[in-house]
Subunit: 400 residues, 2 copies
């Protein structure tokens, strides 16, 4: 359902909807056992819940498309991820809990090493310690340019974020990182005519930074990539007429929820403390996004066993999620992260929706092959929000 139709049909009521995103949920079979991580794990609570729910598989973006975390979550929040792209610079800023504003343009920065001819000898400046990056970012904050506020924030090792804040900025800029060594950094270029002024400001920043870094043995240059403006999405709480709260340990996921217009809880650094925060805010929101990270991390590490354990850890939280008594409880993934691939993948992701209004569905296990037989079939993840709202009685009839 597109935003305009959702806006037209959405109607508020007293129901509660909980969306649990198990990051990197789906996987692939172990070649020896022919069983996926979900099929291998012991998931008594999820299996029981699947038996009382309608199941299916979600396609995060499109057939064959491997999503990053941005599009994977945006789809579950009801956006068409191909229409609403979240740039790399924006994600990097969200990842350090930076409070990005609607007119900001953000970029990922790397300190790098340049030789006497200005050519790159190390794109990561020998992975200088974070402490030095903090010091160098402090130094770069001296740079002042007319009509724009420049914010430089350290990330980790050689990485930082540059945010340009001001009116009329445009993120359509090419990266200065040539993605190889032995050549000079590229100039910043506007990739749209509206971005000429912003390109000029970014260029001036780079020139002044080079001077300020010239005494550094390793970090005497910098590379910028992923220039992107805040995506300025339609607000999900406004469109769907639901107060929406996000409960996630990692800043990037809180940040993605904030882009969608949700309120992010501080909530602390563990899955349990975030779940406690969710419970304590039960009266404050209608829609709750709860993010569980460890399955993705284990999959990214290529560690099948660790992913199995992460899924079993999530399973133990399920009774608490059920005890919330939500009208609609969903278990979803932003994408698959098969241990076998040690990375994200395009494979459709198991999904369940528990509510009083589910149809019959003979799925009583929660894994890829079982969910495929579910009543929801294989469907685009961007329909999850409208499906949930329908099951919560939050969508009016279309037409007479």
């Amino acid at each position: 359902m597109d935003t305009e139709l959702l806006r037209r049909l959405a109607t508020p009521n007293d129901t509660k909807i909980v969306l649990c995103v198990v990051d990197g949920l789906g996987g692939l079979p172990d070649p020896r056992t022919h069983r996926s991580e979900l099929e291998t794990a012991n998931l008594p609570h999820l299996d029981l819940l699947a038996g009382n729910s309608v199941c299916g598989l979600t396609i995060p973006v499109d057939y064959g498309v491997t999503p990053g975390s941005g599009p994977g979550h945006m789809a579950l929040f009801g956006y068409d991820p191909l229409q609403h792209e979240v740039g790399r610079g924006v994600l990097e800023a969200l990842g350090i809990d930076f409070d990005l504003q609607r007119s900001d343009v953000a970029a990922r920065g790397n300190f790098c090493t340049l030789d006497a001819q200005g050519k790159i000898t190390d794109r990561r400046a020998g992975r200088i310690p974070t402490t030095l990056t903090i010091e160098l970012c402090e130094r770069l904050r001296q740079i002042k340019l007319p009509g724009v506020e420049l914010i430089v924030e350290p990330v980790r090792e050689h990485r930082f974020v540059l945010v340009m804040r001001g009116e009329g900025l445009d993120g359509s800029l090419s990266q200065t990182d040539p993605e190889r060594e032995g050549v000079e950094p590229l100039p910043v270029r506007a990739t749209s005519p509206h971005a000429e002024a912003t390109a000029d400001l970014a260029h001036q920043f780079v020139m002044q930074a080079r001077k300020l870094l010239s005494d550094q043995p390793q970090a005497n240059g910098l590379l910028l990539r992923g220039f992107a403006k805040h995506p300025d999405l339609p607000s999900m709480p406004e469109v769907a007429q639901m107060r929406a709260g996000a409960f996630a340990v990692y800043p990037m996921y809180r940040g993605l929820a904030k882009l969608a217009g949700m309120t992010a809880s501080a909530g602390g650094g563990t899955q349990e403390s975030q779940l406690d925060a969710l419970k304590s805010h039960w009266n404050d929101f209608d829609f709750f996004f709860y993010h569980f990270k460890r399955a993705d991390a284990a999959g990214e590490d290529g560690d099948f066993h660790a992913k199995v354990l992460a899924l079993e850890e999530f399973d133990k939280l399920v009774p608490q999620l059920e005890d919330l008594g939500a009208d609609v409880l969903m278990i979803a993934g932003d994408h698959s992260t098969p241990s076998q691939m040690a990375g994200h993948s395009w494979h459709p992701v198991p999904f369940l929706l528990n509510s009083k209004l589910g149809t019959t569905d003979d799925v009583d296990q929660f894994h890829e092959a079982a969910c495929r037989r579910g009543s929801l079939g294989v469907f685009p993840a961007r329909h999850v929000l409208s499906l949930a709202m329908a099951h919560a009685g939050r969508l009016m009839k279309f037409g007479a």
Copy 2:
């Protein structure tokens, strides 16, 4: 995935992708046995391959849409067949191995019989022998018009192809065939303002042809239909960054592949010689389109048993296809051709994709009902290319 996204995500590597199109693959159950042609046939190799693959059903164009060979293949080559139509005149030209150029406008021609008042008495001129059509086409080649080259090629019996070659031609022309007898041929009319000049040229051709044919007892007139310009598709090899080769016995399928930018092999006139050609070009291409015709021909004849035999004949080729060692091997159909209907149909078509990165899928037979339970679900055929590229590691991640 649309062309622009595919262009953005495609990345080359050393993998090989084989797409086997079994023309008219899908069918309907025999009313007596309740088993389709695929369910009736003995297909040991396909069943075994299905057991090691992910399966599904493809929708060639849209729900309820029966595709011709053009849209059925275009979808499998990654194009939205509703966006990229291949006109009848173009298909007729491809069918005789005519080397259509990007600016050409082609039309199907029929010789017909006209009475003294110029009214059609036989739309097919008594199906005159091909030898006479060859002679009459030779005669029509005398026609010269300013600024355009006219090419007239015989097809079979009363049928020929007219190709207009020149700059600025437009195929938006109405047909001269009224599709009934007892009336005069219709004038050529431009159906778009840009086609006025082309309409005028086509009209002059018709007038001069009438004079040149006036001594003929049967073939004293002609009818033109299906005017169409070369569809000028984005090149699949360029967009997908794959060298692509086509191996098909029949000229129309080589022609469709050439429209998509593939290189068509000569390869000879049997399925075996085309398969040998494919093997001998293994190092020349990344993507291989192999076409198997006989299943469609048997279905079109309404011969259930012949279609079963054709499928069994294809099954015998499967071990050779597997022995190629492709990273991705797909068995697909351009559309269903149920013997019961003696023609193409809209029914979703069995599909399998074999690769190391397939998910679990408990389908171990290759037929309509089994493939419906497959992990790919029921999906549009135009996603086949991006799915294959994903399984071959040829698509980059979307978003961060």
